[in-house]
């Protein structure tokens, strides 16, 4: 090898790329380009899970709290996993968790709550899934963090985990 400069510079360049990619991987975030973020949550009316009364979302989100709107279903396996996170979060007084029960069998859903505990301040039913469509949801589970002006601060697609728990805690401070 007469010319060592070429291989060495190629190797240095590749190592540089390697490091950048490695760091880039840690930056990975479930960023969802969504126009609903920063906007007011759309109003809806739904049937209450327990007393079967009609509930208006505007009245529900009227308080001076932060709200967490969690779309869930008893048939949804990831929901089962994220339930403990919701239970933890329900002990926090500055946030009220509203459940939106998505396309579910009422008995199964009640059994789910009985088994795993009820973290929800209120549960509404979305029997045919239209409310979730209007909210711009992708699927179950999905969670919206809403502030006292009904503005959507953050949206989690998929189950919550400890990391998202910390993020929520930061948001509602």
């Amino acid at each position: 090898m007469k010319n060592k400069a070429l291989p060495i510079s190629i190797i240095i360049f590749l190592v540089f790329c390697f490091v950048i990619f490695l760091k880039g991987l840690n930056n990975t975030n479930n960023y969802i380009p969504d126009e609903t973020l920063g906007k007011k949550i759309s109003s809806f009316t739904a049937i209450n899970f327990f007393n079967e009364k009609e509930t208006k979302s505007d009245e529900l989100f009227a308080g001076k709290n932060f709200y967490l709107l969690n779309i869930w279903a008893s048939w949804c396996l990831p929901c089962r996993n994220e339930h403990k996170i919701l239970m933890k979060l329900s002990q926090n007084n500055s946030i009220k968790i509203i459940g939106l029960n998505y396309k579910d069998n009422l008995d199964n859903a009640k059994e789910f709550i009985n088994d795993l505990g009820n973290p929800y301040f209120e549960i509404l039913r979305d029997e045919n899934g239209t409310i979730s469509i209007d909210l711009g949801a992708y699927g179950v589970p999905e969670t919206f963090v809403i502030d006292n002006n009904k503005i959507i601060l953050k949206k989690f697609v998929g189950p919550l985990n400890n990391q998202s728990l910390e993020e929520i805690k930061k948001l509602i401070k």
Partner: protein, 624 residues
């Protein structure tokens, strides 16, 4: 349940065969005869068999909706039609990797049986290197993305396949694209073997050319299918969005296109050996790089699979491991042969070299546009997105000389061409192109110098490639067709870009909307209940000034599992232009947002790309 287990254990047996292969093949390397031992053959055969069994098991799990399998649970649903249950097998990260692995073991087997005439050592080194890649894929699959993960208790219903992926074209797009990507792995392995065996010569180039052309054809078809899908399904009315993942498939394509040309020079004139090797190594590197960028979730796009950094780290290490091995082999083993040959400026060699320079330029533009945002984000934490304007600015000025040189280059003779630049027929053809482009551009607003010159040269190239069919020259038939296809492609893309028109408006049932040269009437709306979605079909009548009325019926599909609304454009295609109408819901009221587009020459874009592949295919049918 049992099927899943069977699939999993077949995969493990496959891996064991792969590992056993290494010492067996290595020992065979030193046996002094020119026959590869039958053990090598049997091992590769059994490995192919077991991976195939594993893949079939996964398909069966999908067909039976066996939700105790995590992959099936995440990507299928009982209400899904059978066809999409099957195509769902490779519509997800785990399944698609298993398909990749299957193609890898299939290709290595094909290589073994088709390379009989070549030297034994060269064959075995190729197989060994290919086997290293296969083991890498096996480990990646088993460690980070096992398609047979078991769920207990088993769920009653799955989460469903993303509805925008439920499309017949998309069912075949990934497998074909993978055939292209994976084909380039054989190119890499055989280059490495050729370097080690010091036989980078015209005979090797002749054999390599077959693999290069095969990979190129599959990659081209794969890209075209993806772009057709984007056009029909995503409802944006375009065919190329410079989405990072599209760019990633374009990079190996540009590399392979350069390689297709340079390998011919190596075959015919024994020149460009080093350059051909660099291209061979880069083709697969770019394919793997693509896998990394897509699967690690480092990029966000339509194609993003589940984000899991551990997968990214694995591919990243594997990718750089392969790059380093290739580089070490390249720098330490490769002895460049000094061949004394006279080179002339006007020759086929030079024109192919120029072609390669252009390819490299286009490649680096795409590479920078795709990777630079990642670098920038890591270094400065700033998010930017690179879009069409960047690529247009950097591509168009260079496309002009490229098109011009392409009209001359292929006609050059090897070694030396006596140049008669001022042939009267060529000048006439050029004047005709200028006149035609004047006619074309006369009525449009796009009368900038760049656009005019671009149109002139693309028309000129189009004429020259047609003329080539009728005169006797240096170009062989398959090349004529491919080059004609390319010129048609460029011309259609340019015409499409110049003459596309669109109207966007919000409209209610029963209303009409008038635009410059026509009217859109929103006649009616119908709702249907389908097996796994609800369909809303709007009926529109469109009357443009001098044309007949046409009816377009765009559709909205509200899928229940997972909950997603997709819009299906209604497109009326003919040979001159596509009429494209798509509608979307406007939240909270009775209006629909509609987008009506006229897209000229769309069908020619697809046809010309297919023509390029047909040209390449003809290569295989004209053996002397």
């Amino acid at each position: 349940m049992f099927i899943s287990q069977l699939g999993f254990y077949s995969l493990i047996i496959g891996l064991i065969f792969s590992i056993i292969f290494l010492p067996v093949a290595y020992r065979d390397l030193f046996v002094n005869n020119n026959l590869i031992s039958s053990n090598v053959f049997s091992i590769l055969f059994f490995k192919l068999f077991f991976v195939l069994v594993s893949f079939i098991c996964l398909i069966i799990s999908f067909v039976n909706s066996d939700f105790s399998n995590e992959t099936v649970y995440n990507n299928s649903h009982t209400t899904k039609p059978l066809f999409y249950k099957i195509s769902g097998t490779w519509g997800n990260h785990e399944g698609s990797l298993l398909l990749c692995l299957l193609i890898l073991v299939f290709f290595i087997f094909i290589f073994l049986i088709t390379s009989r005439k070549e030297q034994k050592k060269y064959r075995i080194i190729t197989l060994l290197f290919q086997e290293i890649i296969i083991i890498g894929f096996f480990l990646f699959l088993l460690i980070t993305s096992n398609p047979f993960n078991h769920l207990f208790p088993s769920p009653k219903e799955g989460l469903g396949l993303n509805p925008i992926l439920q499309d017949p074209i998309l069912a075949i797009h990934p497998p074909i694209l993978y055939l292209g990507y994976i084909g380039s792995s054989i190119i890499l392995s055989s280059s490495i073997a050729a370097i080690i065996q010091n036989q980078v010569n015209n005979q090797w180039a002749k054999n390599l050319k077959i693999w290069v052309i095969i990979s190129w054809i599959f990659l081209t078809i794969g890209i075209v299918l993806g772009s057709i899908w984007a056009y029909y399904e995503l409802g944006w009315g375009g065919f190329w969005f410079w989405d990072p993942v599209e760019n990633i498939s374009l990079m190996p394509w540009l590399c392979l296109t350069a390689l297709v040309h340079s390998v011919i020079v190596l075959e015919k004139r024994s020149l460009f050996a080093t350059w051909t090797l660099v291209l061979s190594i880069s083709s697969f590197t770019f394919s793997m790089c693509g896998t990394f960028l897509v699967r690690s979730g480092i990029l966000n796009s339509v194609h993003t699979f589940a984000n899991d950094p551990s997968r990214g780290i694995f591919i990243l290490f594997f990718l750089f491991f392969l790059i380093f091995i290739s580089l070490i082999v390249f720098f330490f083993f490769y002895k460049e042969k000094k061949i004394k040959q006279k080179n002339f400026l006007f020759s086929k060699e030079t024109s192919i070299l120029i072609n390669n320079w252009f390819m490299m330029y286009f490649l680096s533009v795409v590479l920078i546009g795709t990777v630079y945002p990642i670098f920038l984000e890591v270094i400065t934490n700033e998010k930017i997105s690179v879009g069409a304007p960047f690529y247009s600015k950097l591509f168009i000025p260079f496309l002009i000389p490229f098109l011009f040189l392409m009209s001359i280059g292929p006609k050059m003779a090897w070694i030396r061409q006596n140049v008669k630049l001022f042939n009267i027929k060529i000048i006439l053809l050029f004047l005709l192109s200028i006149f035609l482009s004047y006619l074309i551009l006369f009525k449009t607003e796009q009368r900038t110098l760049f656009v005019s010159v671009l149109v002139i040269f693309s028309i000129y190239l189009f004429f020259t490639t047609i003329r080539d069919f009728f005169i006797k020259n240096q170009i062989n038939f398959s090349q004529k067709i491919s080059h004609f296809g390319f010129s048609l492609l460029i011309l259609s893309i340019i015409m499409n870009g110049i003459f596309s028109r669109e109207v966007i408006t919000n409209i209610e049932v029963g209303e009409k909307h008038e635009f410059n040269n026509g009217t859109i009437y929103f006649k009616n709306i119908n709702t249907f209940k389908k097996k796994n979605y609800t369909s809303i079909v709007g009926i529109f009548k469109i009357k443009e000034n001098d044309n007949e009325e046409i009816y377009l019926e765009p559709e909205l599909r509200i899928f229940n599992q997972p909950l997603i609304v997709t819009s299906e454009a209604d497109i009326k295609t003919n040979f001159i232009a596509d009429k494209f109408l798509v509608m979307n819901l406007v939240k909270g009221n009775d209006y629909y947002n509609i987008k009506y587009q006229t897209k000229p020459f769309m069908i020619w874009i697809w046809l010309s790309a297919i023509l390029m592949c047909v040209g390449a295919l003809i290569n295989f049918f004209k053996r002397k």
